[in-house]
Subunit: 204 residues, 2 copies
């Protein structure tokens, strides 16, 4: 077997690493399992990525960026208030539906290495900056467009209503006695449910 396109092996390794790390977490993942998943040899992992830690960082940064820019859409856009909320919910839920196991992975690894991860986010050019959005909320309150509400909690509410159903998927699946496919269908319907829930709560 001659030499292959090196980008292909590297790509297969990254794909496999993403899959295994997301499923098992950093501590639970095995270099052996990543190699098997990629269909290559264990030694080759260390040829492309010196250490497990290096491989992890290569994929983690990329995964973080799957979420952070989506958050910035709401925080920094100039849309009218209710439209901004609706667009954020739809867009964020779509990302989550397409990556249902990602939230659990992110929050777990963030907790394992809080300062390291938080610093990585803050240094990133995609750093979430909710201040503009929270000021817009206060403006809406001040001008009587919505009821008085604490901007910090409204922001937390929006993210929580979208993200937790994916983090707690096993629990809700068990309580509702449904399978993965049915759960994702519920999440699809949920886009509109969340928007209605928030908008109704904000009306004067």
């Amino acid at each position: 077997m001659g030499k292959k396109d090196n980008t292909e092996a590297e790509y297969k390794i990254l794909e496999a690493a993403r899959k295994v790390f997301i499923k098992k977490g950093y501590a639970g993942a095995r270099m052996r399992e990543i190699a098997d998943e990629a269909g290559i040899n264990k030694g080759l992992l260390h040829y492309y990525f010196k250490t497990k830690d290096g491989l992890f960082e290569s994929i983690f940064d990329e995964l973080l960026m799957t979420f952070a820019p989506q958050l910035n859409i709401i925080f920094e856009s100039d849309l009218p208030f209710f439209e901004k909320i609706e667009q954020f919910i739809n867009q964020y839920m779509t990302v989550l539906i397409n990556n249902p196991d990602l939230p659990s992975f992110i929050v777990h690894e963030m907790q394992q290495n809080e300062e390291k991860v938080v610093n990585a986010i803050l240094k990133s050019k995609h750093k979430p900056n909710p201040m503009k959005f929270m000021m817009q909320i206060q403006m809406e309150v001040a001008t009587g467009k919505i009821r008085a509400i604490n901007p910090v909690h409204l922001m937390i509410n929006m993210v929580s209503l979208c993200a937790f159903p994916f983090v707690g998927k096993p629990m809700f699946k068990g309580m509702l006695h449904i399978n993965d496919v049915e759960y994702l269908q519920i999440m699809e319907i949920r886009k509109k449910e969340i928007v209605d829930f928030i908008i109704n709560s904000l009306k004067i």
Copy 2:
């Protein structure tokens, strides 16, 4: 050193195991670290608990029970609807504020071993059964007491608004530039914020 009260050593081990498992997760926890945390020898762990897996199960079942019975309070009580919601939010948030690292641990380990954990819950006498509560929601809608809302999503909303701020604590702390003490203060205020948010959303 003579023999000590055996319940004391066992208690210290369980305390230490709970702390280390919650912080590091099953895969990341080390028997050595648990022994050190308990102030006893590594060999003694295996005297009281044959295996790491056995020690884990000893504490995990107990931790699960910290949450499930609280959920049943809302699902099975006979309180008027809005009072039931308020009591649930206050009670559940109090549990979470007193155990802020528990949600991340539970959801991560549930995902690692979904069928095993879900079966353990379903077999438990504290099994969460949201059916009664969801039927009450439908009754409120039918009698025109609240706006039309999907009971499944209202139930998910209530849990999500309480639990996610703890799962995503590192993220929110980073975004808001605050420390742990300040974060818990926000969570204390949040009890009322969540109740207001839900009640306002349900009004006709």
